[in-house]
């Protein structure tokens, strides 16, 4: 069974498919072994997360967010060997991103007011907490059918119209709303009873 799984994993995959199939720990282990497909999948899995932390929680302008984004992945690539527990890659990346965002804000602040020790805007902790939840929801989405995953992502995360989604997926635009609704129900079932209570 292990051999069959390894054989499946050895076959070429799109980064999205590979990211959906492998746990964080397996993905990291394969990256550490020099597997470039796995690296691509790791970037695929965490790119939105890093981007959202920089832009939504720290409200960095795009050019600063881009520098932080590239620096985060450069450091992850260089220092993956130093990660003690492979399954801890997500909090590690989150912490790295937060630290680099703070560095960036401090550098910007120094340029503006060299004589103050005051820290620039702190991150929005509520947004950070919601991003964690959002990541979990996207993880659950990755376990849905490709069709559902695409529809939900295109509509809610990419802000595409029914028409654009219909054209991209070769589906009648008139059926998109009902598909979205069905896919949301499936997603809710996929998340299951482990979901956090609705306290926000």
């Amino acid at each position: 069974m292990e051999a069959a799984r390894d054989a499946r994993e050895a076959a070429p995959r799109s980064p999205t498919a590979l990211s959906a199939e492998l746990s964080d720990a397996r993905l990291v282990a394969r990256c550490r072994g020099g597997d470039e497909e796995a690296w691509s999948a790791l970037v695929e899995r965490f790119s939105r997360y890093v981007y959202a932390i920089a832009v939504q929680a720290f409200r960095l302008p795009q050019h600063d967010a881009e520098d932080v984004f590239q620096e985060v992945f450069a450091r992850v690539y260089e220092r993956l060997d130093t990660l003690r527990e492979d399954e801890a890659v997500r909090p590690w990346i989150a912490q790295l991103t937060r630290r680099l965002c703070i560095d960036r804000l401090r550098a910007g602040s120094r340029e503006i007011t060299a004589d103050t020790e005051e820290l620039p805007d702190a991150p929005d902790e509520d947004v950070l907490a919601q991003l964690e939840e959002s990541f979990d929801v996207h993880d659950a989405m990755a376990r849905l059918s490709e069709n559902c995953r695409e529809i939900l992502d295109r509509f809610f995360a990419r802000d595409e119209s029914y028409r654009a989604i219909g054209e991209a997926l070769e589906l009648p635009a008139g059926t998109i709303a009902s598909r979205i609704s069905r896919c949301l129900v499936k997603l809710r079932e996929e998340i299951g009873p482990e979901a956090r209570p609705e306290s926000r």
């Binding site: 695929e44 881009e66 590239q70 690539y77 992502d153 990419r158 809710r188």
Partner: protein
Amino acid sequence: MSAYDIERLSRLIGMLPPAPAAWVRAARELPRARRELDNIVERAESDAEFRRALIADLETALQAEGVEPTWPLLDELRRRVS
């Protein structure tokens, strides 16, 4: 029955839009970019003329090798050839 209502679920999906495609592409290509960087540095060590041109314009040198000149790569290249 899950504790997520549809509205909240929709909002949470929308909180993680894709990062700009060019950023993601550059990050995905890091392994290849690192190899190209090694090749460039090796060539600079054996070719003084190339090294001079390289130091004068690192960004163009990376682009010529098909590497997206992100700042971490430029920074590393600068460090290694200076």
